[in-house]
Symmetry: C2
Subunit: 250 residues, 2 copies
């Protein structure tokens, strides 16, 4: 067993991501949303619509991280097996949730969105012991089981569900970042950057090459929760860039 780690993991469930048919954007959205709450993301995984794979990933990640955010696989079709897999991963059962079933039945009866048939009723199956995550957009809820937040894969629905999760998290200190960019190659500033990283071991410094309108350069990013310290690091990065013969740009 690997060591326990603080923060969150993201688990993206779905063959369509692994086939390259669909570009995942949920990972980045959840990561930025969590950063505002001071919760770092330590790992992200994409697994196929295969029970054994989903169950193994849920067990591994939920044991290692404070929180797991899953997306995908809670719709009405035969390949939507996430709810059953979550129940299995936590060793609990699953059945129709009476209140969810009633609310969905009423919703389908009042809106012109098709019959509340057997396929749609599947979306009212919730593992025992789970608490619901409200879906303000399309009705069928997500749920929280243990430290796992189970959400839809459709980005707009997932984003709506996240808002219902916010109050359940123990927020850390919000992480923010400062960026200093220059038209210098990574190799030109690597030594200066490494020296600054030694000087500020508590502030992770990242280096990201860019190509903006044909002009190459590097963005240096410092992350942390202490605004004063970030400002100090930004000044140090700026000075380092000037020493290397560059000038900060936007």
């Amino acid at each position: 067993m690997d060591g326990r780690r603080r923060g969150a993991a993201i688990l993206v469930i779905g063959d369509e991501i692994l086939s390259g048919r669909t570009q995942d954007t949920n990972t980045g959205y959840i990561a930025r949303w969590l950063a505002q709450l001071g919760v770092p993301v330590g790992e992200a995984r994409v697994v196929p619509d295969i029970e054994a794979e989903i169950v193994a990933a849920v067990r591994h990640l939920s044991a290692r991280f404070d929180y797991v955010f899953s997306t995908g696989g809670i719709g009405p079709t035969h390949d939507d097996i996430t709810a059953d897999c979550m129940a299995k991963a936590f060793g609990t059962g699953i059945d129709f949730h009476p209140a969810v079933f009633a609310a969905m039945a009423a919703r389908y009866a009042s809106l012109n969105i098709g019959p509340f048939n057997e396929a749609r009723q599947r979306m009212a199956r919730i593992p025992y012991g789970a608490s619901l995550i409200v879906n303000g957009l399309s009705g069928a809820p997500g749920f929280q089981l243990g430290n796992v937040f189970v959400m839809a894969g459709i980005p707009a629905v997932m984003q709506a569900m996240l808002e219902d999760v916010r109050g359940r998290l123990v927020a850390g200190q919000a992480l923010s970042s400062v960026t200093v960019s220059a038209h210098l190659g990574e190799g030109t500033i690597a030594a200066g950057l490494a020296a600054l990283q030694k000087q500020y071991p508590d502030i992770p410094l990242g280096s990201y090459p860019f190509n903006k309108d044909g002009k190459f350069g590097t963005s240096l990013v410092a992350r942390g929760s202490d605004a004063a310290r970030l400002a100090e690091v930004k000044a140090a990065l700026t000075a380092m860039i000037r020493t290397a013969g560059g000038e900060p740009v936007d």
Copy 2:
């Protein structure tokens, strides 16, 4: 230990993906590229720039899959630790590769791209026993160690490197797909789709809701390597959609 699986895994290395700063697009590109070669992708992971995490992921994925494709962490800065981690994962050493070092020194001497300093020289460090992956775009190579292909994180460079990998793979039967879309909800066609999945157990059928110019619908996707069978499934999907009261659309 989980069971061994056929196909490939993708390992994305970098804090910038987990923080949401950078949107990963390499996973989708590699997945589509591999599908053309008939190699399915069974899992994708994003891990941070932390040695223990990278080493553990490489060992796990390389033991389980035929191939692992990693992106990121082979640049010149202090947070580029992928090469060292790969050596550690495979229990081998790492040192400057004489031919790579010489070629990079010549390249930096002839082009106006800065000095071949200590930071850039780091990119010539290659694990013992690795074969090189040519980087036609920016010089510094990737490498293959065992069944792991270690590539750059910058998409254009990664894509150039993939071309040098092509000949090393045992291609399967190229996977292709057929899609049938209609302005019907997933819940309306879920039962018919499930019945077809039972009828064609060898052809994975996926269901993906869409919202195109405000019109909602569902795309049904069948994947396989047998064109005749895919055509048969496409006809069956079309008939099913018409039975459900819909009409295929582009």
